[in-house]
């Protein structure tokens, strides 16, 4: 099999994930796109591992590690998103603009309201 097939597929998946990260509004959808990108990398690793016939199978081992790390990442990421949602009442990335120039600190009542709403 030509190496170009898995490599090109991997590139396209990666760029699709990239587009998702940059264009999606919902933080969980952004996390999904990140998963896509990670998987694209995994595909690349496996393909090259097979092509090179590496005695240590570094590509496959790394793929396994990546999968495990991705699982950890998704767990932490979701926890963070949930916390942000609890505090701000939204998980839309483009509404989280605390670092913008001239941003006023959110008034103290807003988190409390959201907490009640969550409850």
């Amino acid at each position: 099999m030509h190496l170009a097939y898995p490599a090109v597929l991997s590139v396209l998946l990666f760029c699709t994930g990239l587009y998702g990260v940059l264009a999606r509004r919902n933080a969980i959808l952004v996390l999904m796109s990140v998963e896509l990108m990670l998987n694209a990398v995994n595909l690349n690793l496996v393909a090259f591992d097979v092509w090179l016939r590496d005695a240590l199978h570094s590509g496959q081992a790394l793929t396994l590690f990546t999968i495990a790390i991705a699982a950890a990442e998704i767990g932490i990421g979701l926890a963070i998103v949930l916390m942000v949602y609890r505090n701000r009442g939204t998980s839309d990335i483009d509404k989280l603009r605390d670092t913008a120039e001239g941003h006023e600190p959110a008034d103290a009542t807003a988190p409390a309201e959201k907490a009640e709403a969550t409850a």
Binding site: M1, M32, A61
Partner: protein, 189 residues
Amino acid sequence: MILAHAVTQTGNGFLSPTGVEIAFLLVGIATLAAAVLTVTTRQLVHAALWLVVALGGLAVEYLLLTAEFIAWVQVLIYVGSVVVLLLFGLMLTKAPIGRSADADSGNRPAALVVAAASATALVWVVVDAFRTTWIDLEGPAQGSTRVSGEILFRHWVLPFEALSVLLLAALVGAIVLSRKSPQDREGKN
């Protein structure tokens, strides 16, 4: 000239694909389509479901590349747990069911440009570099469970153990982060 020469030498032209190649191509198209739908659909839950399709497709591709252990791990972990987690996350953040008009942010045109540019650049580079490279899939499967187990516990034990610590840390971190703060609990009471 070089290309033509290489093709005639190896005899593996793009115009005379093998069966594995055809299968890989078809599954790849499906996977890519599912991925594109994942990042473009306006229904959030559908995005998660399309992600399942894409990840499953990738598992098939792994199989076609003779990495069967990774394919099953892919199915187990991604399709089985990660997507379930994502769905729970969607539910917990009260994601709207059905079509939502504002699933994409205002950054969409820029994202499209950047993604298209990087895709073009990367495809160009990759094709330019590997158009004549041939993967020999003959012989014993390179990613069977036995092989994977052997290399993992013979050569990669230390990273494997370190990874377990990482997973533990992630577990604890996730718990700490998702716990409600004492204030919130009081407000609840």
